[in-house]
Subunit: 196 residues, 2 copies
């Protein structure tokens, strides 16, 4: 049984290596190199550890980290969707649900079910853990775009209202981080790297 | 106080972005693209979650993940050292300790101390968590080298005895994973991708 599980787990571990090839729209800090989903997931997980004291409520940190480590795995099949893309929906599409079934389905049943449940919890944004994980996912690209003179905002003509609406999700996870994020957004307008 | 902490934490979060540029010797699975330390840390953390049932002893999984997310951060200053390099020591060198002090030292004191302690615990390999984390760190490049027809073993002329000695560390974390790893090593000899 142990060995049967291990063989399945190794297949999963090999499959998710592909996350290292999925490029996001945002670039690394002060850089023109696109970030990939594996690096992004690492960074958010570490951010969650470091910023956990700023949550609005108690959280199960291990669960938040599990969410962040796996939240983009469906993009191996479904690809990265740009957050400001108005043509294509981002969240929990049929394509993403199929991807979750296929990729997490490589694991032994009990683990596949746990991973799919955690991924769905992240997508549904209702629990404390999902809210805080989401806040991390919105905060990192804000730091990146500010460091890159507007980054994807400039590149794709995204304006203040669009950014503000997307970033406000941070507040659901942490008032303290949101206060800081809001200042960054306003400063970006003042600096001319984000258009009102 | 909250805000003072946050500003320090953001500096740390920005600094560790550099881990995405530190290239390891090993390549991604079935690939000639070098893995970077951030991707590697993500992969090991996820492996620890998925493989936790195979530990030889009870572990604090959150601590293992913290170790794996931060274990290579010192390489931002100290660089990656090849595991089979006989010229240069790998573990807890003066250079690495200085790096730990500088980089984790960006955080508020209580967090800096916690991170340095966790990094040292990983380096010292005595606790259950450190042993299991180490097992992950040895297991991933084994999968990579096998998938790449010998990978760094072939590229740098590393032989069976050297590989066996380094990989045996896996057993301290998990007998089950070691049994599987040992088979992979022996199969590699049979296939001619690892020289006895």
């Amino acid at each position: 049984m142990e060995t049967a599980n291990l063989l399945k787990q190794v297949e999963f571990i090999k499959e998710v290596d592909k996350l290292k090839y999925i490029l996001r729209k945002t670039k690394l800090l002060n850089s023109d190199r696109n970030e990939n989903d594996a690096e992004h997931s690492w960074h958010l997980s570490l951010m969650a550890i470091v910023l956990a004291e700023h949550t609005n409520f108690p959280i199960d940190l291990l669960k938040v980290i599990k969410m962040l480590l796996i939240h983009d795995i469906v993009e191996i099949d479904a690809g990265d969707t740009f957050i400001y893309d108005t043509q294509k929906s981002h969240d929990n599409t049929t394509e993403e649900r199929e991807a979750a079934k296929r990729i997490f389905g490589l694991l032994p049943d009990h683990q596949a079910n746990e991973m799919i449940a955690i991924w769905e919890e992240f997508e549904e944004r209702q629990t404390n853990e999902a809210k805080f994980a989401r806040a991390m996912d919105r905060f990192e690209p804000l730091l990146q775009n500010v460091s890159n003179n507007g980054g994807t905002w400039t590149e794709f003509g995204v304006n203040y209202d669009q950014v503000y609406a997307k970033k406000q999700v941070i507040q659901q996870g942490s008032n303290t981080i949101w206060q800081y994020a809001e200042e960054l957004i306003n400063d970006s307008v003042d600096k001319g790297i984000l258009k009102k």
